[in-house]
Amino acid sequence: MSAANWTANFLNQLTAAAISVEQFSLPSASLWQIESRHWQQFATLAVGQDVRWVAGWAEHVEGRLFINACFEKQGVYVLLRTIVNAAKPELPSQATVYPAASRSERHTQDMFGVHFTGHPDHRRWTRHQAWAKHDYPLRKDFPVQGEPETVTPPDKDYQFIKAHGEGVYEIPVGPVHAGIIEPGHFRFQAVGELILNLEERLGYVHKGIEKIAEGRTPESLARLAGRVSGDTTVGHCWAACRAMEQAAGIEIPPRAALLRGILAERERVANHLGDMGAICNDVAFIFAHMQFSRLRELWLRTNAAVFGHRLLMDRIVPGGVACDLSASACTLIKQEIVQLSKELSEIITAIDLNSSLEDRIYTAGYLAPEIAAAFGTVGYVGRASGQDRDVRRDAPYLPYDHASFKVALEDQGDVASRFWVRYKEINASLKLIKQFIAQLAAGSTLTEWQAPPAGSEALSIVEGWRGETIAYVRFDADNKIARYYPRDPSILNWPALEKLVLNNIVPDFPVCNKSLNGSYSGNDL
């Protein structure tokens, strides 16, 4: 397998380019430290090797800023780091090379005051009006309470991209939308019904998650992680707990790993059912919406009956899980799977032949595979545009290392593909749940926690229901969190929405948006 090779070859390439790399090893990733002046050059070489940009974040450590960027190829992750002086932090931007890095660098600019030279877009991103331009909330000297005004004014003077010409008009939408959904702003330029351009303006639900994570205990961080994005409570909580466990050198019991797998697959099924219904609803196909939301409700009721929470919040805890499965619960789940598979195949057969659904979801919201690749799109959005990527298979972790399942893949890139990928993924999840239940052996579900030494850090990558979900954790002394950065898959997928709606009609925006279903909360943090 060439997996080990890409880093070896790439290191040779870096040496040839006179970029010196200090190497360290972290659980789940290698840590490479380079000089800040080489930051962009590294990206240029990496993109040439089809290495994917995955995440970026910074950390304020005693007068210096650690700037991190994570890269991946063939399931092998590298954490790239450079250290700059906090007094005048400046380094060349990677966003010139990787469009996916653009918003992340703007977030780091707003939160730490880092200047990325050559960045194609220096507008603020996460900052609206809640703190001043030269205040940087994630610096250690910025108090968690800040100095907010009694009423924070609405965001203003944000320079949206303009379009001119005969018949071109602009539609501003949000932050408060018409449905029961999260807030964000969309700015359309349209001619007639046709969308010429869409610009997203997010950050409305920024609630300081990274800042309020600092100083927490592992249990408390797990609870916060479970609320980065409520629909991904299992995914984020798992990523954060696994990162903390790796930093602390703790292994969870095999039974706990299997239960985590079951929880994660149940979360995937619940969300996919909800989304498939919502996609149908957005094209006014109520039959399917009602059927899928009925199946989702039944599924959530089993969650409540068996695990004690409909959305499975706080079931994963540092060191293991806070729930267990009795033999009768296993039987119940297995029966439920049989019933769900049967009902799903009935519904799918009924809607597959429906021309009014076909009319609306085929060819709508087309995301070309090249664009999906260029933006590093993950999860079902990437997989519906031919991006054959799944952490569960490519960088397997317990309990997926002993599981067999097929990664769903489509290549049409339209709303229909994103619908069918979800359907295939539900079937794969049901198989996985059965496998995990079959492997369950008696045993404990929790390993006792041991405080890690100050400075311990780890990066953990799991496949949440939306796709690759990442948590970076570094500990301070006394078992306290120094830095937590969660990278929701939405951060990579939101930019794809701006592309896939082009040349669609404005009335199809809701279904295009739903087919991607980015998390606002997971993006804004």
Binding site: Q129, A130, E147, P183, V205, G208, R227, M290, R294, A350
Partner: protein, 169 residues
């Protein structure tokens, strides 16, 4: 198309078929709500849901109120797309500072008489997020609140009970 009708017929009306004891409670609750709505609001109330900074967990459960099991519309509760059509604002989340003005404006746009229900622990007291440079915490720190529905997130049943509390209040 035939398959579709077959599925509809074989599925039946799940809304009325609930036999689990809990579901009777749901029926009872619903009917109580309906009676209050009939008496005090001439038959129906209109709700506008506003996410003021939630993690989206609360939204998932508010959505569930419209699934065929709860089908809250049958009790005269209707979700509107604009605050201008609403009697009740259902507000979730700690209020993020970036949403503070939007929430105030939504509140102002809602015609009188109006009621505000704070949904979820975050809306009730700030929850896991509290008050910070980025969060105003509880909804009552920003607009007057009439009823609080606790839970993280509150279950659809808790939501229905909370709404009943509002009607009785």
């Amino acid at each position: 198309m035939l398959r579709l009708f077959k599925k509809i017929i074989t599925t039946g009306v799940v809304t009325e078929k609930c036999k689990v004891p809990k579901e009777d409670e749901l029926e009872r609750l619903g009917i109580q709500i309906k009676n209050h709505i009939d008496k005090n609001f001439s038959g129906s109330i209109t709700i506008r849901a506003v996410d003021a900074g939630s993690c989206n967990g609360c939204e998932l459960e508010i959505h569930a109120l419209n699934n065929p099991y709860y089908d809250i519309e049958r009790f005269g509760i209707h979700f509107a797309a604009s605050p201008r059509h609403a009697d009740v604002l259902l507000v979730t989340g700690p209020v993020s500072r970036h949403m503070q003005t939007a929430l105030l404006r939504t509140y102002e746009a809602t015609p009188n008489p109006k009621w505000v229900v704070a949904v979820g622990d975050c809306a009730a007291c700030g929850g896991e997020f509290g008050v910070s440079y980025a969060s105003c915490g509880a909804v009552s720190n920003v607009i007057p609140v009439d009823v609080v529905i606790a839970g993280c997130p509150p279950t659809p049943q808790a939501l229905m009970k909370g709404l009943l509390g509002l009607m009785k209040g």
